[in-house]
């Protein structure tokens, strides 16, 4: 289980970073979302992975750590708000700058500008 869990987190982080390094805003937003999923899973695992154990004292022989669950909940809420904001900002950028490139202009026009 640990191996599967760890590879999932790793894969999500890798794809998140790859997408964040793209030039257009939509893949970047997707990348940020994937990164925050990976982070949430990672935070959850910091209380150790356990199956069928309630985060309540006295319910089972040993108990799951409730604190990471609270942390993840907070992180999800904050991540959700931030993603909503960055989506709106990306749409604003598309309208204001005339294209959806993170740097404000596609590379081709930049190159021709430089050569002039």
């Amino acid at each position: 289980m640990e191996l599967l869990y760890a590879s999932c987190v790793g894969l999500l982080v890798a794809s998140g970073i790859y997408l964040i390094l793209r030039a257009r805003t939509f893949p970047v937003v997707l990348g940020l979302t994937m990164l925050s999923y990976a982070v949430n899973l990672f935070l959850f695992s910091s209380g150790r992975l356990k199956i069928n154990q309630a985060p309540v004292l006295g319910q089972s022989a040993s108990y799951a750590d409730p604190l990471p669950q609270a942390l993840v909940l907070t992180a999800i809420v904050i991540g959700f708000a931030m993603t909503a904001f960055v989506v709106i900002l990306a749409i604003r950028g598309r309208a204001d700058l005339g294209n959806d490139h993170v740097d404000g202009q596609p590379r081709a026009t930049r190159a021709t500008k430089g050569s002039k």
Binding site: L32, F42, S46, G47, L71, M82, F85, V86, L89, D96
Partner: protein
């Protein structure tokens, strides 16, 4: 009075909500008065809190009476509260300044300014690392919205970069928290300071990874090289009055570095003590150099001020890297001084840009400003403070700083770089002043529009903020004592541990 510690966080929150509700939401005049009054109230509450803890020692407050280390605590030591006072004062000044008309450029300026104040004060006062993350997000989301206050194309681009960068930063912050929680089983700062020393075997390396990941996040917030590239673009593009309020945000990063790497990974941390110093020294020096080059190369006064922020961060981090009490005390004094001086420079740049028409605050010869006397005097005072010339606080800070680093092994690298950087600041500021105020064309025929004049509110804001460097010189001795005490408490993490766990025992 035990609830006093929550006021610097709760008052701005309350203010933000009141300002959004009907009576204030409809009338701009009422909004301005309420916003200024609430900022003043926050300032008074912070000042009261400081006087309490100076006489009675640091205070801990368990939110909802959840016992530490399980619940979230607020922890007020002199450093944190002094910075709360600084933030509240800065917010008061910028809100008064913006009330002349800048608050009409977009919607919700006043509530957002208060939410930013709440986030910053909360970040200073919290005693819990995850809570620090939450307050970082509060101040960041307020700053995102404030950055977009004035609608124009270039701001959108700068804001997009700023937001994406900070979202990545937040993810790294959470990963670091996960690693540290996995190893230490706690996120309460005092408890962490206690448990870091007990680590053994491989856990030490994991904790080290977590700590250094935190350093990356804080360095991003503090605009430490090589993570500083967002700052000139963002601060240069934001409305100057908002950039002035942002002057505190890099200091939040510096504060977090001080808090985490002197309290948790401090002298008591065994193998993990001082893990940041080896990284901070070279980075601080390079930041100083790059900031100084940026100051010399700046084409307008706002970019110049933005680069001055980078220089101040370099200086501060160098002091933090020295990692002794004396240096930390200087850092505290310098932090207050540089925040105020940089913010003042942003406000002056705004006035100059308004009064020079099309050329704005670009450092080229053009028509003169409408009120050369007022702006000239303000500029000279701010420039003297920033360049570190006598008689203002910059000079006191510089002398004390050189004195504190005198004995250190690295002084022979730090002194020349620091002195050359302040020379560069001096040269750049004199050049800017010359082209802004002396090389102007006579403008008898030109009519200035009515709204460019300073007016009462802006003049008051400028006078208020420029009194600080003066007062910091006049009261240098008591401030010196206070900084020394604050540094001593910060370095002795046993004080924090005792205070926090005394509360746990009481319950």
């Amino acid at each position: 009075m035990q609830h006093l510690i929550t006021l610097p966080v709760l008052l701005p929150l309350l203010a933000g909500i009141i300002l959004l509700l009907p009576p204030c939401g409809k009338s701009l005049v009422l909004r301005r008065w309420v916003a200024s009054f609430m900022a003043l109230a926050t300032l008074v509450a912070s000042a009261l809190l400081l006087s309490t803890i100076l006489s009675a020692g640091p205070v801990v407050y368990a939110i909802g009476e959840w016992q530490p280390p399980f619940g979230i605590v607020l922890y007020a030591d002199p450093l944190a509260v002094a910075l709360c006072i600084l933030t509240s004062f800065l917010s008061l000044v910028t809100i008064v300044y913006a009330s002349r008309g800048d608050d009409k450029a977009g919607s919700f300026y006043h509530p957002l300014a208060h939410f930013l104040l709440m986030g910053v004060n909360g970040a200073f006062l919290t005693g819990d690392l995850f809570n620090l993350f939450v307050f970082f997000e509060v101040l960041l989301i307020a700053s995102y919205a404030l950055l977009m206050h004035k609608k124009d194309k270039h701001t959108t681009k700068a804001a997009l970069h700023y937001v994406i960068l900070n979202l990545v930063g937040s993810s790294i912050f959470l990963i670091a928290l996960g690693v540290l929680y996995g190893v230490l089983g706690t996120l309460n700062m005092a408890d962490m300071a206690l448990k870091v020393a007990l680590l053994q075997g491989d856990d030490i390396y994991l904790a080290k990874i977590g700590g250094l990941l935190l350093l990356i996040v804080f360095a991003l917030k503090a605009a430490l090289l090589p993570l500083h590239l967002w700052l000139p673009a963002t601060y240069g593009r934001a409305m100057p009055v908002i950039a002035a309020q942002f002057a505190i945000m890099t200091k939040v990063g510096v504060y977090a570095i001080m808090r985490v790497f002197t309290m948790i990974f401090g002298e008591q941390a065994g193998e993990l003590s001082g893990i940041a110093s080896t990284w901070l020294w070279p980075l601080a020096l390079v930041t100083l150099v790059v900031g100084a080059v940026g100051v010399l190369a700046a084409e307008d006064l706002r970019r110049l001020s933005a680069n001055l922020v980078i220089v101040s961060v370099g200086t501060l981090i160098a002091m933090v890297a020295l990692n002794d009490e004396q240096a930390t005390a200087v850092a505290i004094y310098y932090m207050v001084h540089s925040t105020i001086a940089c913010a003042a420079m942003f406000l002056i740049a705004d006035m100059i840009a308004l009064q020079r028409g099309k050329v704005q605050d670009r450092l080229v010869n053009s028509r003169g400003v409408a009120e050369p006397k007022l702006l000239g005097i303000c500029f000279v005072v701010a420039a003297i403070a920033l360049a570190g010339l006598p008689p203002l606080s910059g000079f006191v800070a510089k002398l004390w700083l050189l004195d504190a680093s005198y004995g250190a092994e690295v002084a022979w690298v730090f002194w020349p770089i620091y002195l050359l950087a302040s020379l560069a600041t001096l040269v750049a500021l004199s050049r800017a002043g010359t082209s802004l105020f002396w090389h102007d064309h006579p403008n008898q025929d030109e009519q200035f529009e009515d709204n460019v004049y300073a007016g009462k509110r802006r003049t008051w804001a400028l006078v208020l903020i420029l009194m600080v460097p003066l007062m910091m010189t006049v009261f240098a001795a008591p401030l010196n004592e206070m900084s020394n005490e604050a540094a001593a408490i910060l370095h002795n993490s046993q004080v924090a541990i005792d205070t926090v766990f005394a509360l746990a025992k009481e319950q």
